[in-house]
């Protein structure tokens, strides 16, 4: 009984984090983008610097009519946003904040998170097809093509860290981590981060939702709360990617006073990564489809393979 209660408590905490962290990232995005582009951003809702803007947005989305197009495949259309969001919630369960501070300790946690993250794209594929709209369908194509190109370097880069640590457990990887890995695993980290951005369709890899060409890609026909779920999935994805980059490559809870403040270090590092995600959105223009495929297959995949070989050689030499 105590085990069940503890599990429920842990999952509850993860759920709360899942509700709070994406909103924090969203608010940060509003403010950081505004400052980087020399404008104010939302300033009125809630008084101080528009802190309640996201809450107001949420209320607005919930009030809007939920429309399903006449020619759409109703059930698939309605299920798609849920399927886009749930995988990130499930992935968050396995990511540790500090030793013992994790939703569920899994021996093969890394594989679990990667496997679950790969499901998210089904949401945009289903939405794109079920909308019965050519722009949605084109967006779904782009989304799938992008995933196929970037899934391989994503998994290979993660495999490199697992090889270096000699374990697939996320807690085990952080415990094996040492500061010089920052240099050793640097190519892997870059590949992982870039491929992760592409998987989330974040700019500069937002070709699937390129508004100037195909309106809003797979999400064109969505309104109200279902559209909000897709947006939430994007921010939850940023949280998962940032936390995973922190845990795999940046040493998680390692830092001064890490015995007492380990969880704070993990959160700070994750937010720093999330900041970079936002920064990249403001700084780089969107990639064309051929540029995107070339970057994936001709730069990231070879780089990930080189990193894998390097990890293998160094591991053998130091052991």
């Amino acid at each position: 009984m105590a085990d069940v209660l503890e599990l429920l408590l842990r999952v509850g905490c993860v759920f709360v984090a899942f509700l709070v962290l994406p909103l924090l990232v969203g608010q940060t995005e509003h403010k950081v983008m505004a400052h980087m582009q020399g404008r104010l951003g939302p300033m009125y809702a809630g008084g101080f610097h528009g802190w309640a803007q996201l809450v107001a947005d949420g209320v607005k989305f919930a009030q809007k009519e939920d429309i399903v197009p006449a020619n759409a495949d109703r059930r698939v259309f309605q299920l798609a946003p849920v399927l886009a969001l749930i995988p990130y919630l499930v992935a968050l369960v396995a990511i540790p904040l500090a030793p013992g501070l994790v939703g569920a300790e899994l021996e093969t946690g890394l594989f679990f998170v990667l496997a679950v993250m790969g499901i998210g794209v089904l949401g945009s594929l289903m939405g794109g097809w079920a909308s019965a709209n050519k722009y949605s369908l084109l967006g779904a194509f782009r989304s799938a093509g992008q995933l196929l190109a970037y899934e391989l370097p994503f998994v290979l880069a993660a495999a490199s860290v697992a090889m270096a640590a000699g374990t697939l457990s996320l807690t085990g990887i952080v415990e094996a981590w040492q500061p010089w890995w920052l240099l050793w695993q640097l190519p892997g980290m870059l590949v992982f981060f870039v491929a992760g951005l592409a998987e989330l369709h974040r700019p500069p890899f937002d070709m699937p939702v390129a508004d100037a060409e195909i309106i809003f890609g797979p999400y064109t026909e969505y309104t109200g709360i279902r559209f909000a779920l897709f947006l939430l999935a994007e921010y939850a994805g940023i949280v998962v990617l940032a936390a995973l980059t922190t845990v795999l490559f940046l040493g998680g809870w390692h830092g001064p006073f890490s015995d007492a403040l380990g969880w704070l270090w993990t959160l700070l590092k994750a937010f720093a990564v999330a900041f970079v995600v936002i920064w990249v959105r403001v700084a780089y223009p969107r990639l064309r489809s051929d540029q995107l495929q070339r970057l994936g297959w001709q730069v990231l995949v070879p780089l990930a393979l080189v990193q894998l070989a390097l990890t293998g050689v160094v591991s053998v030499v130091i052991s």
Binding site: E107, T108, F112, V121, L122, W129, A132, E151
Partner: protein, 193 residues
Amino acid sequence: MSTVRVLFVLLGAVAVGSALLVVTTRQIVHAALWLVVTLGALAGCFLLLTAEFVAWVQVLIYVGAVVVLLLFALMLTRAPTRPDPAARTPNAWFAAVVAAAVAGVLVTTLVAGFSGAVIDLDRAEIGGARVTGGAVFSTWVLPFEVLSVLLLAALVGAIVLSRRDVPNRPRDAEAARDTEPARDADDRERSSS
């Protein structure tokens, strides 16, 4: 029955039921989506059989990559959002007979090979990466290598089929005769299409 057994039976029922829907649904994209349910339930069965690593690999490879590729290919074809009359074929009964025969062979093999095998959940080692890796690279290393050669052959075949700049293939040779020899492969492809 213990909780694990009940769960296993439930997941098995979901897997079989959704697999039937894969072959009976009139909408081809729905078939691919039901396949996701089948594969997911199968991953759950693996998990209950203490094969944790295999379960996550099942999700990563089959749900995350194979089904996405399948959906991608299906959407490139004519895949309407309404029931498609073309999805019904007069060969259905023949396909059902073949499927039943294959299922019979597989079930007989499994029962003959593993009938009565029991996993003691209290003492069983969870099939994480270490156990699975040990089994694949010691006991099953020959099948593993044979499979990798098969995959390599498939890869090489795919590259050969998709290459347009091999001069000895008849269509390309014909196209090359029509154009100046100095043109590059791209131009040749354009003129042949």
